[in-house]
Amino acid sequence: MAYTTFNRQINDQMKEPMFFGNPVNVSRYDQQKYGIFEKLIEKQLSFFWRPEEVDVSKDRIDYQNLPEHEKHIFISNLKYQTLLDSVQGRSPNVAFLPIVSLPELETWIETWAFSETIHSRSYTHIVRNISAEPHKVFDDIMLNERILERADDVTRYYDALIDGINLYQRCGEGTHTINGQSHSISLYELKRRLYLCVMSVNVLEAIRFYVSFACSFAFAERELMEGNAKIIRLIARDEALHLTGTQHMLNIMAAGDDDPDMAKIAKECEEEAYAIFRKAAEQEKDWAEYLFKDGSMIGLNKDILCQYVEYITNSRMQAIGMKAIFSTTQNPIPWINTWLVSDNVQVAPQEAEISSYLVGQIDNEVDGGDFGDFDL
């Protein structure tokens, strides 16, 4: 029950559930219950990038020439994204690693959280460049009411899960008196907290980032803040992969083959899951209103952004088998998709800045057919 970093019990990893089985002992990938997580790890590693690789020096001039209300839009989004990635850079590790039971999933969680730390570092890279006083930007995050309001909903489910795990791993199931206060925990309740936590993370990756993404790309459509947009593109590519990761977890849980309790919990929590989606969409719409309080930007205003929030909320819900809750069926800003394309599809890496171009990647396979049209 207590967490151990090297579980001495000999177990069959193929029979463990994703969470709350035996702690992982040997990090082995020769046998995998869910091979998808290793594929996600490989994909994430092929995406590796560093903020310093992206030149943001032109953004400084662009930023200085922006009207005040557009400066507000730009910098507020950066602050909010900084908060989101601060949470995502640490919480999956703290919450999920003590309870995970499959090596491939354990490594996926670590890989996932690591890539979020790159995002955090990239915000500092951007802010350092556009502002002579970066500390003012970061200091404001902890004082900005609009950001703190939403921080509560982003972190609540993580904190409830982490708190429950601490109690369970120290004292086990039951009611315990600690420092004169009574606390109860059951494994079933912990699983419920886990399900809601993964659901809330799914919503975070699926919806919360996208209002900021839309604004960054709207600036870049006008050839402004393009260095920033390049970085946001790389972040969006990572987030799409993380989202796929949480969607797989949720779908495996709901199917029940992995852990029958989780399927039961998924049904019991259905209403709460809808509420999490609805609240996130409402909060993002409020955020759009705050962003545009002093004026819109070319190509984007509050109404369009709100429609986009509704549109992606619907599509994310359908991806995990839920019903759409908004009537919007059309993407009001179809141009955003071209910014979200993974650039792997380009054919000549040396002619373009391709973020996934791996140095030293050589195709060594040659067969007779390759010399078919050779004449000597």
Partner: protein
């Protein structure tokens, strides 16, 4: 020539010059949501009502029964699909 029928809508022909079903749909000016275009985000999910498709690379996104990703697949027969 294989055809793609949009449920309750038009039927289009697959001319074989497109990389995937998504490209064919776009060639005929049909709007499908997309992001990554290589099977890991799942944004282009459509329903496959009849016919067979084959993946040019196996999608990483979760695809439930009855759905498919047009961005990394080609059709093997006439197909009827539903675009959400």
């Amino acid at each position: 020539m294989l055809s793609i029928t949009i449920h309750g809508g038009v039927t289009i022909n697959v001319d074989g010059n497109q990389r995937c079903i998504l490209d064919t749909l776009e060639q005929h000016k049909l709007q499908v949501n997309y992001h990554c275009r290589e099977g890991y985000c799942g944004a282009c999910r459509c329903k496959l009502l009849s016919g067979n498709i084959s993946y040019t690379n196996e999608p990483l996104a979760f695809v439930r029964a009855g759905e498919f990703l047009p961005c990394c697949s080609v059709s093997l027969s006439d197909i009827i699909i539903e675009i959400p």
